[in-house]
Structure formats: structure tokens, C-alpha cells
């Protein structure tokens, strides 16, 4: 469509479905969180929608130009969203940090794009693939372009070593916005990365595979280790999202249709888990209805609010990838893809990372279930959000395994559409 700028394939549709659902949840999540009238005005929804649109362009882009346009549309709205709570210093700081670093990343990406364009003479993914196939990965210019593009994408998905902004921005941004950041833009960027790597850069797989493997392992281990000392649950979830992106990258490193399919599956389940977890965080309020973010505030939650604690515990176990919860299955799929491509060592290293990561998820469970009860949270009466938490918990519960069939079929079809 539009002269090969954008495509409407199943891969893109799959990504859009997740992005729009996540955006809807982010809009619902804002209800009752912002102060009505003064803060929660129409701009919030508009910005989310713009950002979602940008994400939608990203996942269906088949040309470097549309890719960049989509990415910028998505990012610019996100910068504003991060600083949406103008009166809050932390929010403003988050917005500024996000913007400065994001602009730098965009610059790097743009530089990469210009290199690719300069050396291949085309913006189109197919054309770039053809150029790579022709010249091999011997051309230094092409390699530089590839590295810069991947660096730009790595920033967007907050993969190590381009992750530094994530904890600060996640912590500072208003919680509904953080929930949005951790879901929709992340899916968009991961899918975008998947499409670039497996479509445009497919012939240069040996070149980018090392980079992706490094980013995957570094993300997994750093995400696991750095989360260790966190006391703020939003920061902890930020590291958890870095860690999880690492696993999605393991699937990408595997390459091929199975790899792409496992990435799609991973992101779909990841979004459910992470949105569920953030909705739970959203409900952490003190008696006056003010949000709290300290992990210590969760102490003994299982005694004061058993259902709430059980839901959060399920999300934590699921994010850690412990069976029988559903979060185990996408991890299994990415490992399977990796083993199938002969990357056994990568799979072993990544799975050792899950054990390290399990520690901090367990810590949340320990605080909720084994510590003495702290001051109970104030009640939040948001039936829609409650229903969403329930739905997400239902999906990550072992009942989620019933979804494997349809979801597998869908991701396989979607993955085959980019080859």
C-alpha cells in the first residue's frame, strides 16, 4: 500500500490487535487515578490514541521512512504522556529524561537509516534485503547502518545496553502511563525489530544475530540482577520488563518462522501479565486514596485483601515463568525456537537467568504472603478495572493453556506472512 510504504499483513494485524487492546486498558486505567476535571482531560486519551496509531504504523511499516514516521509519532506522544502530571516533579523529570534520551536514540536510528539508504539506494525492506543478499555482509557501510538501526530499536524496547532510561521513566510517569509504556510501545518496537531483522536484514542474519544474542543475555541478566535491591514496585516492574524483553529477543535470535512466531506469542502473553501487574499497582492506595509505590506497603496483603494478593502473586509467578502458570509457555516456546536453531548455549544461559530473576518475583510474594500485615490499602471502586484484573489473572492461570491452540495458529500464520 502507498507505494510499498506500508503493508496490511497478518503480522501487522496481530501487533495492532495487541497494541489497541493495551491502549484501551491504559485509557480505562486512568479513570479514578488522575484527579477528575483538573488533570484527567481529553488530551490523555488523544495522546494515547496518537501513540497507538504510531505503534500501528510501526508494526506494518515496510519501508524505513514509514518506520521512522511511526516511531516518532509514537515516541513524541509518549514523551508528553510521561510528563503528563505537570505538577509532579518526578513526572516532569521522567518526561525530560525520556525525551532527551529518546531524541538521541532517534538520531542514531536516523543515522542508521541514512547509511542503509546511502549504501542500498532504497528505503524499501525488500530492496534492502536484496542489497544485503547481493553484497553479503561484507560491506562496512551496510554493517554500520545495521548496527545503528538495531541500536535505535534496542532503545525503544529498552534492551540492555540502551535500557538506562527505563527505570527512571517508569517510576516517574503516572502509573496508567507506565502501564501503557510497558505494553503497547514495547510490543510495537519488538515487532518492528522482528520485521526489520527477519525481512530487511534477513540475509545478514549472522551479522545481527550476535548483536541480538548479546542484547538478549545482557537484558536478562541485568534485568534480573538490578531488580534485586529495588524498593519501588514500579522500578521493579521496569527491570522485569527489561528482563522479559531479553527473552523475546532469544526468540528473535533464533530467527526463522518459528522464532518470529515465538516472539509474537511471547509478546501477547507478556502484555497480559504486565498489564495485570500494573493494574494491581494502580490499586495500591493509602487510606486517603493517594497512590503508594513502596513494595513494603504490600506487606501481609494476603490477609487484608486475599483475592487482590492472589492475582498479583499469579502475575509475579507468571512473569517469573514458573509453571503451571501461563507465563511458562511463551518462555518454553522461545527456548524451543532457540534450541531448534542450534542455539542451545543461548537457551541454557537464558534459562539460568530465569532462576536469578525468580528471586525478586518471589520477594514480592514473600512480602505479600509471609510478612506481617501493614496498613491496609484504601478501597478502590473501579469495577471495570477489577474485571480486567480478573480476566488477566484468568488468562495467566493454568486455564490459559487452553488458549495455546488458537494463539499458536494465529502466531504461526502471522509469522509466515513476513516471509
Amino acid at each position: 500500500m502507498f507505494g510499498g510504504l506500508i503493508t496490511a499483513d497478518l503480522f501487522g494485524s496481530f501487533g495492532k490487535a495487541i497494541i489497541f487492546l493495551a491502549s484501551a486498558v491504559a485509557i480505562i486505567a486512568a479513570h479514578g487515578w488522575f484527579e477528575r476535571d483538573t488533570e484527567h482531560s481529553a488530551e490523555y486519551s488523544v495522546l494515547i490514541l496518537f501513540s497507538a496509531l504510531g505503534g500501528a504504523v510501526m508494526v506494518s511499516a515496510t519501508s524505513l521512512v514509514t518506520l521512522y514516521v511511526g516511531l516518532e509519532l509514537q515516541s513524541l506522544s509518549a514523551y508528553v504522556l510521561a510528563s503528563y502530571r505537570r505538577s509532579d516533579d518526578r513526572s516532569a523529570e521522567a518526561g525530560l529524561k525520556y525525551f532527551v534520551l529518546g531524541a538521541l536514540a532517534s538520531g542514531i536510528l536516523l543515522y542508521g537509516i541514512s547509511l542503509l539508504y546511502g549504501f542500498t539506494g532504497t528505503m524499501n525492506f525488500n530492496g534492502i534485503a536484496a542489497a544485503f543478499a547481493r553484497e553479503g555482509s561484507t560491506s562496512l557501510g551496510l554493517l554500520f547502518g545495521l548496527v545503528f538501526v538495531l541500536a535505535g530499536v534496542a532503545f525503544k524496547i529498552s534492551a540492555v545496553p540502551f535500557h538506562m532510561w527505563t527505570p527512571d521513566v517508569y517510576e516517574g510517569a503516572p502509573t496508567p502511563v507506565t502501564a501503557f509504556f510497558a505494553s503497547a510501545p514495547k510490543v510495537a518496537a519488538v515487532l518492528l525489530g522482528t520485521r526489520i531483522c527477519l525481512d530487511a536484514l534477513e540475509p545478514a542474519i549472522e551479522a545481527w544475530r550476535q548483536i541480538v544474542i548479546f542484547a538478549a543475555l545482557a537484558s536478562i541478566f541485568l534485568g534480573a540482577v538490578a531488580a534485586y535491591g529495588q524498593t519501588n514496585i514500579k522500578r521493579l516492574l521496569a527491570y522485569s520488563s527489561i528482563n522479559n524483553v531479553g527473552f523475546a529477543l532469544v526468540g528473535l535470535a533464533a530467527g526463522g518462522q518459528q522464532g518470529a512466531s515465538s516472539v509474537l506469542f511471547y509478546m501477547a502473553v507478556y502484555v497480559v501479565m504486565t498489564l495485570g501487574a500494573f493494574l494491581c499497582v494502580l490499586w495500591m492506595r493509602d487510606e486517603n486514596g493517594e497512590p503508594v509505590e513502596e513494595i513494603a506497603a504490600l506487606s501481609g496483603l494476603s490477609q487484608t485483601r486475599p483475592a487482590y494478593a492472589a492475582a498479583l502473586a499469579m502475575f509475579m509467578f507468571s512473569l517469573a515463568g514458573i509453571p503451571p502458570l501461563f507465563g511458562f509457555w511463551p518462555k518454553l516456546l522461545v527456548f524451543q525456537a532457540a534450541v531448534n536453531s542450534g542455539l542451545v548455549a543461548l537457551a541454557v544461559a537464558a534459562i539460568v537467568g530465569t532462576v536469578i530473576g525468580a528471586y525478586y518475583y518471589l520477594r514480592i510474594i514473600k512480602v505479600m504472603y509471609m510478612d506481617e500485615a501493614a496498613a491496609p490499602f484504601g478501597r478502590v471502586s473501579q469495577p471495570v478495572q477489577g474485571a480486567l484484573i480478573f480476566l488477566a489473572a484468568l488468562i495467566v492461570s493454568p486455564l490459559g493453556y487452553l488458549l495455546i491452540g488458537p494463539l499458536n495458529k494465529l502466531t504461526d500464520l502471522a509469522a509466515s506472512s513476513i516471509f
Partner: protein
């Protein structure tokens, strides 16, 4: 049938969450008793001479996981052990758990469902899901209802066992990729390349050795046992440890015969160290539960000895040790629980002279002590004897080292019994303890029956799995290590000629 067995505790566990403490106790008890009845039916209906896999169910779930259940004799007896111990566990926690009872009962029932799933699963990934899933309820049981150091113990338990199992997952994925199937029975007959077998064996070994536990990765066990509530220790020692042995029988041996044979020396050395070292450690313990925990490690070494002997006696013996140890160590933990409920200490030095004021308790404790030592006529004798015979055929040195374990076992168990039951009470509280209540009699009496039944007529337990062990031995025979005691038939004729020649001179 097997689905029902798994579903009942699951549903009952869900129900428990919505009711008050007393109702939760009764729901849990009734559910576990129904499961016991179902297990008894399975045992009766199982045909030892019939097909290898019985009560088979298969419901493809999509992807590469299917709800495939089925049991052979080996799984059957372990399922029996689980369903037998569960009502006893619920009974043991009847009054000693008084906070958050509904959640406790729910965790226990979930635990039961997952344990039964492990033994019944016929799909590789389904097995893994059950195997790993068991960590969650046990983590909560130790962490919420445990002793003073419960947090540390629960972390140690969880992370240790998780670390072991994740490597197994990669090995499983590799196997599925190679063999293109997730069905355990098919994989049991699949021949992997010998080089791959070694790696796969190591990955599985990492998981099962931690679960078992073998020296030197046993350190989580004493902590977990000491901190867990009584019923938690019973189920941990009684059933969870058996998953390691079951894993060796179900996966390591039949799937990687050459790999197993290659690593026999490693297993024997580790088991030998375990027997001697942990027995010596048990000798100097001052905490009753810790002593029994270390004795578990030593007993489990008999299992690994027997399994890796590659012969019928050894493997049957290993199975019997697992069953016997499941009953006896469970019972010993219950015995500790009985006095702990009264005095709230596990220090051996605080007790003494219990034979005077608790004659019934002293009697039962004596029975279990003797069973643990391996007195003929009790359950453990059969298993230990068989596995030693099996080991002796392969390596006489290993058998000699293993036998010292029996002597040391007698030493620490008798020492424990002597210090607790005989002499005079060391504290006034100990002298005032009352004898077993009717509930405690009901909990311990069935185990006594089981211990003697297994010791006097082991045939009823061996029969279901004899054919399965024979199949296993047939499968792994090609890789069986040559023993160091190959008695060659003598040549009497030559001898006779020699004598004749001598006589002629």
C-alpha cells in the same frame, strides 16, 4: 479415572478458600480420603500382567502439549504412597495449624493434585508443568506456616530446585526437537546418539539429584525440613523426594541407557559419600528434625545405588526403599510433631524418659526407629537388602561402603531413641507430657500396619511393578556396566585331573 484423581483435590482446594477454618479441614480430609479410596481402586484394578500402561487418557491440547495420563506399576505404587500419606498429613495439621487454615488446606490439596500429576503424566511438558508447579504450594507452606527461619528455608528450597529443573527443561526441548514427540512412552524407547545422551543425562541429573537429594546438593533439605510444619515435612520426605527417584527410573535410565552407564561411577561415588558423610552428620545433630532429614539423604543414597546397579534386584530394591522410606520418614516426622506440639522444641536434649510417661508413643516410635534402621520384618529391610544385592553385583566396593550406612544408621537412630525415650526426663515439662491422643493413634497406626505389611509380605507391593522393572532392565541391559565380581564357573574337570595327577605321583 486419573483425571478424577487429580481434579478432586484441585476442586476441593478451590472450595477451601471460600469457607471457614473448620469446614476447610473437613473438606480437605474428605477429599483426601476419597482420593485414597480411588487409589485403592486403582491398585485393585491394576493388572500386573496386563499392558505396560494402564488407565491411559489422551486429550491433545494443541501445540506440543497434551493431557496424556497413564500409569505403570512404578507410578501406581508411588501414587498409592501419595494418597495414603495425604489424609495423614491433613490429620497431622488438624490442630497444630491454627492460622490461615483455609489457605493451608488449599495449598496442601493443590500440592496433592500436582504430585499425582507428576506420577501420572505421560507427556514430557505436562510432566514438567506438574514437576515445577509443586514448588509453588510447597514454597508457600514452608514460608507461611514454617518455623523461625522459614523465609530463608523457603527461598533456598525454591531456588535450589528451580535451578536444577530449568536445565532439565532445555534437555527436554532438545529431546522433543530430536524425537519429534512429547510422549514419554515413545521417548522411553527412543535411542538418542550416545554423545547427546551424556549431556541430556547430566541435565536431568541436575534436576533429579537436587530433588532426591544427593550429596552435595542436599543442603536445602535440612533447612526445608526443619522449618516446614510437620505435615509439610511428611509430604516433603514422603513424596517429594521420591520424585527424584521416579525421575531416574522414568527418564534417565530408559531414555539414556548409555549415558547412565557412563556416569555410574559418578553416581556411586556421590552416593557413597552421601551415605557415610550424611550419616556422620546425622550422628551429631541436636535437632530431631534435622537428624531425620540427614537420615533421609543417607537413605536416598540407597535408592541411587540400587537404580544404577542396572539389574532387577537393584531397581526393585530402590523402589522398595522409596516406598519404605516414604512411610517411615513420614512417620518419624509425625513422631517429632507429636512431641513438638506438646513442648514446642525440637532439641533432643530437652527430652528423655518418654517411655515412662508416654508408653504408647515410645512403642510406636520404637517401631519406626527399627524400621528406619532396617530391621528384618520391617519395610526398609526389604528394599535395602535388595538394593545392596543389586549393587554388589556391579561393584563390591560400592556395596561395602553402602553397608556402612546401615551400621551408622543404626547408630544415630538408636542414639536418638535412647536419648528421647529412655533414662530420666531432662526437663520437668518432658516428664509431664501426656501420651498419644486418639487422633494421633489414628494417624500413626495405619503407617505401622503399612510398615509391617511391606516388611513381611512385600510381594503385594513388588508385584505391580515387577514386570515394569523387567522391561526397564531389558531396555538398559545393553549398556549395563560389567561388574567387578564376575564369578567364572570353575573348571572342576581340570581340577580333578590335577588331583588325579597328584595322586598318581
Amino acid at each position: 479415572m486419573l483425571t478424577l484423581l487429580i481434579a478432586i483435590p484441585l476442586i476441593a482446594g478451590g472450595l477451601c478458600l471460600f469457607v471457614k477454618a473448620e469446614a476447610a479441614r473437613w473438606i480437605a480430609l474428605v477429599a483426601t480420603l476419597i482420593n485414597l479410596a480411588l487409589g485403592a481402586y486403582l491398585w485393585a484394578a491394576f493388572d500386573p500382567n496386563g499392558a505396560q500402561w494402564q488407565f491411559v487418557e489422551n486429550l491433545p491440547l494443541a501445540g506440543n502439549i497434551s493431557w496424556a495420563l497413564g500409569i505403570d506399576g512404578i507410578a501406581l505404587v508411588l501414587i498409592m504412597l501419595s494418597v495414603f500419606l495425604m489424609p495423614i498429613c491433613i490429620g497431622a495439621s488438624w490442630r497444630s495449624i491454627d492460622k490461615r487454615v483455609p489457605e493451608y488446606m488449599a495449598a496442601f490439596l493443590l500440592m496433592e493434585a500436582l504430585m499425582l500429576g507428576v506420577f501420572a503424566a505421560q507427556d514430557l511438558f505436562l510432566f514438567y508443568v506438574f514437576f515445577e508447579g509443586g514448588l509453588i504450594p510447597m514454597y508457600l507452606i514452608i514460608g507461611i506456616w514454617g518455623g523461625a527461619e522459614r523465609i530463608k528455608a523457603s527461598y533456598k528450597f525454591f531456588l535450589y530446585t528451580l535451578f536444577g529443573s530449568v536445565l532439565m527443561l532445555i534437555a527436554m526441548i532438545y529431546m522433543v526437537t530430536q524425537a519429534k514427540t512429547t510422549s514419554i512412552p515413545v521417548l522411553m524407547a527412543h535411542d538418542f546418539p550416545v554423545d547427546a545422551q551424556k549431556w541430556l543425562w547430566l541435565a536431568f541429573f541436575a534436576s533429579f539429584a537436587v530433588k532426591m537429594p544427593m550429596w552435595p546438593v542436599h543442603t536445602w533439605l535440612p533447612d526445608a525440613h526443619v522449618q516446614a510444619p510437620t505435615a509439610g515435612s511428611v509430604i516433603l520426605a514422603g513424596v517429594l523426594l521420591k520424585m527424584g527417584g521416579y525421575g531416574f527410573i522414568r527418564f534417565s535410565l530408559p531414555m539414556f541407557p548409555e549415558g547412565s552407564a557412563y556416569f555410574v561411577p559418578l553416581v556411586f561415588v556421590l552416593s557413597g559419600i552421601a551415605v557415610v558423610y550424611t550419616s556422620l552428620v546425622a550422628l551429631v545433630q541436636t535437632d530431631m528434625k534435622k537428624l531425620i532429614a540427614y537420615s533421609s539423604v543417607a537413605h536416598m543414597a540407597f535408592v541411587t545405588f540400587g537404580l544404577f546397579a542396572f539389574n532387577q534386584q537393584g531397581i526393585e530394591g530402590a523402589m522398595m526403599v522409596m516406598l519404605g522410606h516414604g512411610l517411615v520418614s513420614g512417620a518419624l516426622f509425625l513422631c517429632v510433631g507429636v512431641v513438638y506440639d506438646r513442648m514446642h522444641t525440637r532439641e533432643i536434649a530437652k527430652y528423655g524418659g518418654l517411655a515412662n510417661n508416654m508408653p504408647g508413643y515410645a512403642l510406636l516410635f520404637m517401631v519406626f526407629t527399627m524400621a528406619s534402621v532396617g530391621l528384618p520384618g520391617t519395610s526398609n529391610f526389604v528394599g535395602e537388602f535388595l538394593s545392596l544385592v543389586g549393587t554388589y553385583k556391579v561393584s563390591s566396593w560400592a556395596a561395602i561402603v553402602a553397608t556402612t550406612g546401615i551400621i551408622l544408621g543404626a547408630a544415630y537412630m538408636l542414639l536418638l531413641y535412647w536419648r528421647i525415650a529412655f533414662g530420666v526426663a531432662r526437663t520437668p515439662e518432658a516428664a509431664q507430657m501426656t501420651d498419644l491422643s486418639a487422633r494421633e493413634w489414628w494417624l500413626l497406626a495405619p503407617i505401622v500396619v503399612g510398615v509391617f505389611w511391606m516388611g513381611i509380605y512385600p510381594e503385594s507391593f513388588i508385584r505391580p511393578f515387577r514386570a515394569d522393572v523387567a522391561r526397564l532392565v531389558e531396555r538398559i541391559d545393553r549398556a549395563a556396566p560389567a561388574g567387578d565380581l564376575n564369578f567364572k564357573p570353575g573348571k572342576p574337570q581340570l581340577q580333578a585331573e590335577h588331583h588325579a595327577a597328584e595322586a598318581a605321583h
